[in-house]
Symmetry: C2
């Protein structure tokens, strides 16, 4: 069975897209079949794989008019990674979907049937930096939520909101089975005391739920999108690439014991 993971955090710029792109690429290199869904109207995951946003190709019309998802899947340059790209109109989906019956279940109702007919191991959904309709749709459709956290002060404040969200999904019945896949610490800068304090604080609160792998701040990571490639392909020896490979290994180990 395909495991659907929503990569979400309402705090902006914490590494959601970077984690989706690089985790997808690393999992694919181990032979796993990956589908990435870009639910962010900014379409950074789409361009991070070297594709252009494509009018009509995003989930937008599938959410609004029940058009099949299968027509929207595009190959990427990476074997075993396919993507449903984003488009600008997706921003309009927030208002349009909000007015529909069962508006939280729209994405789940188009994704689940599609997955029955296709053999992906994992689906990674890149969410926009908000807890609006698109992110809520991703969390309702997902088996688990992966939360990237920047090693910065504001990151700590947002954490309680995000974890409360999982409880809300359970209590409201929107997705009683939603798990926490884990918390990934990103953009760690060893030269600052603040970064170490954030890591210690997050580990103290969340223990085992925090991945051991910490992704360092590394300029090769921020350069990679300008080449339309994940950093694990742009510069495989960089500290950022090594960290994402280690994260993928740790991620798979958690699933090996399933």
């Amino acid at each position: 069975r395909t495991r659907v993971i929503a990569v979400a955090n309402q705090k902006g710029g914490v590494g959601k897209t970077t984690t989706v792109i690089n985790l997808a690429a690393c999992l694919a290199q181990t032979g796993k079949k990956i589908l990435v869904v870009d639910l962010d109207p900014q379409s950074n995951a789409t361009s991070g794989f070297g594709l252009d946003p494509e009018d009509g190709a995003s989930v937008y019309r599938a959410l609004i008019e029940d058009e099949p998802l299968a027509d929207r899947v595009r190959p990427t340059a990476i074997r075993n990674v396919e993507i449903v790209p984003s488009e600008l109109d997706l921003a309009g989906a927030e208002v349009d979907v909000a007015r529909m019956e069962g508006y939280l279940q729209r994405f789940r109702s188009i994704l689940r049937p599609f997955l029955e007919a296709n053999g992906y191991d994992f689906v990674l959904v890149d969410c926009p930096p908000s807890l609006g309709i698109l992110t809520m749709n991703a969390l309702t459709a997902a088996d688990a939520m992966l939360i990237p956290i920047q090693c910065e002060y504001y990151a700590l404040e947002g954490l309680s909101v995000v974890t409360r969200l999982i409880r809300q999904m359970h209590e409201s019945g929107a997705n009683p089975g939603l798990e926490l896949e884990g918390i990934v610490l990103t953009m760690y800068d060893a030269r600052t005391r603040l970064a170490t304090e954030v890591v210690e604080e997050v580990r103290r609160h969340f223990g085992e739920q925090v991945f051991q792998t910490v992704v360092p701040r590394n300029v090769r990571v921020s350069e990679a999108p300008s080449f339309g490639k994940p950093v694990v392909l742009h510069d495989r020896r960089s500290s950022g690439a090594r960290a994402y490979r280690a994260l993928a290994k740790e991620f798979l180990k958690r699933h090996a014991n399933r």
Copy 2:
């Protein structure tokens, strides 16, 4: 007359909150009276001034039930800076306000009368990282939009969306007078070629609309919120503080010629 400036960019983590806090503090030090409005449910601007989010104190109930804004203004530790704080419920405003008559004008209709009766020089509105109802309300109420841009690749992609927004505000009649206050380049890391490329590209496209002052990436800036203070007070000699003081000077020079 008070000038209302919405600090907005749907790209997350680009320095919107940091720019609001430090520009407000620097303008206040020159004697200007500043009101900050925290329109982001994450309430980073609120905590960046050392305040706690306060249930019932945000614009939320003012937007929904026409309660006066005056009861929601709080002093900060900085002379000449007051703030309308945020609260968690503000996230619910997106859906509630969307269902109201004239939902884009809600914030304008409560802010403008309030400003008539109070003598602020500038209002700085901190927007969430999205182009949802809260940001659209801020842009409808504002005289101008200030756009922070991170010196990173994804920042370039988002720029065309944000500037298209001003045209949309004009063409739709929502705010025909909305100006571009300027574009501020933030988190510039001189050690990377990418940062220089982004600066050159943005200046090539937007010329004079880009502030000369570029804010460098500086750890003292990211430490400041953990002390509940703007960097210009936390460490006034840091490169981040010097840059925000220079930005405020440049900002005021633009208005001296008005």
